[in-house]
Amino acid sequence: MRYNEKELQALSRQPAEMAAELGMRGPKKGSVVKRRLVKLVVNFLFYFRTDEAEPIGALLLEHCRVTQEEPSGFSISFLEDPERKYHFECCSEEQCQEWMAALRRASYEFMRRSLIFYRNEIQKMTGKDPLEQFGISEEARFQLSSLKA
């Protein structure tokens, strides 16, 4: 599948929500832990060899599950393929919790639900739709009805 590689690489150079050197182990059986620079930018998790400027991989953080793994690590797996896990090792429980919280909020779907929540609350309290000013109040993706029960 083709993709706009240059833009993805440019994205990997943008200021990150979170960035740290973590231990990382890929989903293949028998893979070993390697030190990687891991960077969260919009809904992508990029990972770099620690001394390189170009990423060696990227995970799109949609439809994924972030699970704590003992002792102070977490894994990311995708709902379409739950057995394939990307493992990350943090240096402390605190760092681990920070990353897990950031990753769970990093999806487009999470942002969309947040928008719907705030819109609904503001509408209830003021009687006005705050999205009207942005000209996006009719968009299907922002309707309450689009949320799953």
Binding site: M1, R2, Y3, N4, E5, K6, E7, L8, Q9, A10, L11, S12, R13, Q14, P15, A16, E17, A19, V41, V42, N43, F48, A53, P55, I56, G57, A58, L59, L60, E62, H63, F78, E80, D81, A101, A102, R105, Y108, E109, M111, R113, S114, L115, I116, F117, Y118, E121, I122, K124, M125, T126, P130, L131, Q133, F134, I136, A140, L144, S146, L147
Partner: protein, 226 residues
């Protein structure tokens, strides 16, 4: 192809069960001197996938919609528009719809598809809600600035107002509707990896920043006590 190509995990999103934000046939120009190919396009979040046809299981490709602008173009094809990225060797994708209405729908959808845009809107609403909950008065005035700070690639709206630190919590069980999102932690910037290729982000932020500032002052004046 760089090493990244082999390890970009994103194809699953093309055919997952999340509803698409826009779908339809568009003509896609193959390259500068190439022909147009009719493809089935699926916009989901900030990803624009394209398939050979509507029944295909695997996408031909994807355009990641961060840091781009969408504009109308002069082209041999009617109803043409372009998705343009910044940068010296960046690609411009020329697409053509099959009607004026379809073209307008796509231009609107694509220009607001970025995660960055959505995040800006969410932050703005978060601020508005905090202000309304704090008693309906206008939030404290901001220092005017020419360009929103590009820390973390987004406008740092939250950093300056005390209202932003008011926790946004719903009383459990007392309100129907979606769960409140958790309060975001303080932002942190990474050390730069190299020269920031942020020209497109700067344009985007300035544009959205201006739009949001204008809308915000309209909203504030509409909220003012008589």
């Amino acid at each position: 192809m760089s090493a990244v190509a082999a390890r970009v995990v994103l194809a699953f999103y093309a055919t997952c069960d999340t509803p698409a934000d826009n779908t339809g046939f568009l003509y896609k120009k193959g390259g500068r001197h190439a022909a147009y190919h009719r493809r089935w396009f699926v916009l989901r979040g900030n990803m624009l996938f394209y398939f050979e046809d509507a029944a295909s299981r695997e996408p031909v490709g994807v355009i990641i919609l961060e840091g781009c602008t969408v504009e109308l173009v002069e082209a041999a094809e009617e109803f043409a528009f372009a998705v343009r990225f910044a940068g010296s060797r960046a690609r411009t994708y020329v697409l053509a719809a099959e009607s004026q209405a379809a073209m307008e729908g796509w231009v609107k959808a694509l220009s607001r598809a970025s995660f960055d845009y959505l995040r800006l809107v969410v932050r703005e609403l978060e601020q508005q809600l905090a202000a309304v909950r704090a008693g309906g008065g206008p939030p404290p005035a901001r220092r005017p600035r020419a360009l929103p700070s590009k820390e973390n690639g987004c406008a740092v709206w939250s950093a300056e107002t005390p209202a932003a630190s008011v926790p946004v919590r719903a009383n459990p069980g007392s309100r129907p509707g979606p769960e409140p999102p958790p309060l975001p932690p303080r932002r942190r910037a990474s050390a730069p990896n190299g020269p920031l290729d942020s020209a497109s982000f700067a344009q985007l932020h300035e544009w959205y920043g201006q739009e949001i500032r204008a809308l915000r002052s309209q909203w504030l004046s509409s909220q003012a006590q008589p």
